[in-house]
Amino acid sequence: MNRILVVGASAAGLAAAEALRREGYDGELTLVGDEPDAPYDRPPLSKQILSGEWEPHRLPLRSPADLDALGLDLRLGIGATGLDLAARTVLLGDGSRVPYDGLVVATGVRPRRLPGTGHAHVLRTLDDALALRDRLGPGRRLVIVGAGFLGAEAAAVARGLGCEVTLLEPAPVPLAHAVGEEVGRVLSGAHREHGVTLRTGVTVGEVTDGGVRLADGELVGADEVLVAIGSVPNTEWLADSGLTVDNGLVCDEYSAAAPGVYGAGDVAHWHNPLFGARMRIEHRTNAAEQGMAAARNLLRPEARKPFAPVPYFWSDQYDMKVQAFGYLRGHDEVTVVEGDLDERRFMVAYRTGDRLSGVLVVGLPPRAIRPWRAAIAARTPWAEAVRTLAPAAGVV
């Protein structure tokens, strides 16, 4: 293998490129990204960048010298427009064709948008974050559509900047589908305490010139609107390629989409054998882990390893750091195993079937979390995990 192409120059693509070099690959390595900036970090966009605490110079994932050392053919500001699997060639937006022996697809996602004639912000790129930051300040009325983690983080930051914030959410309890109703209520409570107007059970129909119009016709007035209602995988360029696209690029447990073609990061919909489930994970740590795993499997097909991570995410809201390990979605039970929800210092554990599938922690020390993470990785039965790790919780 002497020509490897990585499409997507964010966390997953960069991790793949680095891992290839680390593993000794010294052939041609092309990294293509549709944004003009060198690979940068996204989680701070809704946190330190939006708040103004950080300037953009803190965001690059690697220094120019470290990037140089990778010996990349780095092509920024150019997207991929097509893939010819049989000819092993990717077509780029500037009309050029890049032949490859190995391909890593790491094209990520883009924000879902709402219809309407009014202007709405989204929050995915550095430019998005800077444009929104410019418009926030004391007394400014910000309506955020969607109370998921991104919307909730932006709400917390905007309150800190003195904005009047209204958070609109279609579900009865924000984030309940992701982390359970109990934790969703804790987070909602924190937002209300900090003066956010949280309206649940409301559906937004469109963005208008003066705010957003709800499905029932009510106009919610705003100076600025942020739409944070999830993402769409960037897979259009793969449409006629013969690869399977279904909520992202479908990959097997090795993160492979076809021989010599691997998916990584937000765009990859792969089978995680640790949980026996297909998943597509838009978390920062998954991007790095999957980029590295894809690179290794691409380089050493004879020694491929299944990509079976314990997913991890964190979210900063006000003075709370929320951390979760595992695969919480579709859980059957949530139990507080340490601390107290009302004090916002707690760990909850998630049961899926008869297994411990995840934990979520607010305000507890790292050493309290580690044994639980290890138990998730070891596929520990729920009853055993609770008995040995949380005897005081008194469940089971």
Partner: protein, 65 residues
């Protein structure tokens, strides 16, 4: 190799501690990284590179000697 950490960037994920427990630890109160050994033994190179690659905040910088 020489290891540097950028504390203000750390997001307390703790993945470095899982990858290279002899080189990294976390503060109890906020989980921020503690660098136990800025010039670890070469036997730990692989672990340390894994930790740096996984760090979700790009807060670990390695300087190859």
């Amino acid at each position: 190799m020489h290891v540097e950490v950028d504390e203000p960037k750390c997001v307390s994920a703790g993945l470095c501690v899982m990858s290279a427990p002899d080189v990294f630890d976390q503060r109890d109160d906020d989980g921020v990284v503690i660098l136990l050994d800025s010039d670890p033994d070469t036997a730990l190179d692989e672990e340390v590179r894994e930790a740096a690659g996984l760090c979700p905040a790009a807060a670990i910088r390695l300087v190859e000697k």
